[in-house]
Symmetry: C2
Subunit: 202 residues, 2 copies
């Protein structure tokens, strides 16, 4: 099947959104935990978290400030702190539900039944049910003028991981802790490991 640019442009809006969202491949599924200066907690599912570098340890995500994660973005700018919590098979339905349009004074923790957890004096809430999570210190955001999104960059501080994932060389087995992946806007997947491949040489 060949979709030309003209055909893509002519697609009904939701159809185009589903199609284009499917093109990048599997996406990470993470819950971003924040708190505003008044102590209101917020939780939002984000499928755009991306590794930026290991030294220093940096993580990025793309947010659309005027759509549902807007409270997340505001809280990060206000407080400089957030948590990233991998979504697993036991909580993906609750995680997805955080994408509904709750008001700022309604906590997605209360609305979905996920449990806020405060660790090591960090002021943003973790998700207790997540088996791999970390605190992040906001560093900067870069505005992508082309479509009004923001690349939010943060430094990874403390990592909390279920021992079941830990391998001797530092690799974390996400399958062992049932981390899920997303395709498109709304499809959730567990994984089957094929193999770890050695460093490629000519």
């Amino acid at each position: 099947m060949h979709f030309t640019k003209e055909r893509i442009d002519a697609l009904e809006k939701h159809t185009r959104t589903h199609l284009i969202n499917s093109l990048s491949g599997f996406k990470s599924a993470n819950l971003i935990g924040t708190q505003d200066l008044q102590g209101n907690t917020n939780l939002s599912i984000v499928s755009s978290v991306i590794h930026l570098g290991a030294n220093p340890p940096l993580v990025g995500m793309i947010v659309r400030p005027h759509s549902v994660p807007r409270h997340t973005f505001e809280n990060i700018i206000q407080t400089g702190m957030y948590t990233i919590n991998q979504v697993n098979k036991s909580i993906y339905k609750q995680a997805h539900q955080t994408s509904a349009r709750y008001d700022k004074d309604e906590s997605e923790f209360d609305a979905t039944g996920l449990t806020p957890e405060f660790l090591n004096n960090f002021t943003a809430p973790f998700v207790k049910e997540s088996r791999l999570k970390y605190s992040v210190k906001f560093i900067e955001h870069q505005h992508l003028a082309i479509n009004g999104t923001e690349l939010v960059i943060g430094e990874i501080i403390d990592v909390y991981v279920d021992e079941a994932a830990l391998q001797s060389d530092g690799f974390l087995d996400l399958q062992a802790i049932e981390t899920v992946a997303i395709t498109g806007l709304d499809s959730y997947h567990t994984s089957n490991k094929l193999v770890r491949l050695p460093y490629a040489r000519k």
Copy 2:
């Protein structure tokens, strides 16, 4: 298990790289096809391709200009054209092998046995064995000064997809075409679909 920032900083370099690369969750697996002005083809596996928006249809990726994908970045800047080809279960070993340090006049197509394919007069090569691939027009790159990487942004032009993936609402079933996902630096996974969830409402 709790890894404090101090403990992470003190990890042996490769261990830290594996650990930090595991934190973002599942990553997409894509081959980037380019050609230089002399007609040398290049192919490199990238795990950082990310959806940026559907309207206009934009795709991003993080590249490290001074590491292996440097020829890819140079070719994109020179020619303004590239292809993105999803990696599937039949070709993931060859795809991984493209990460070896081939010289600029050695094509990763020849080195790995993947087949270059030119479609619809687009000047960058596609991977014939990929079941979901698209041509991309380079728009801009944003330099991330914090670690010397580049966010490369392009516009999706023509999409070629195996009919087996196509659903009536535009969603593409990546599991049906055996697209793989990556965790960490080197682990490849197929997927098991859990469910597609409806748009979340309060």
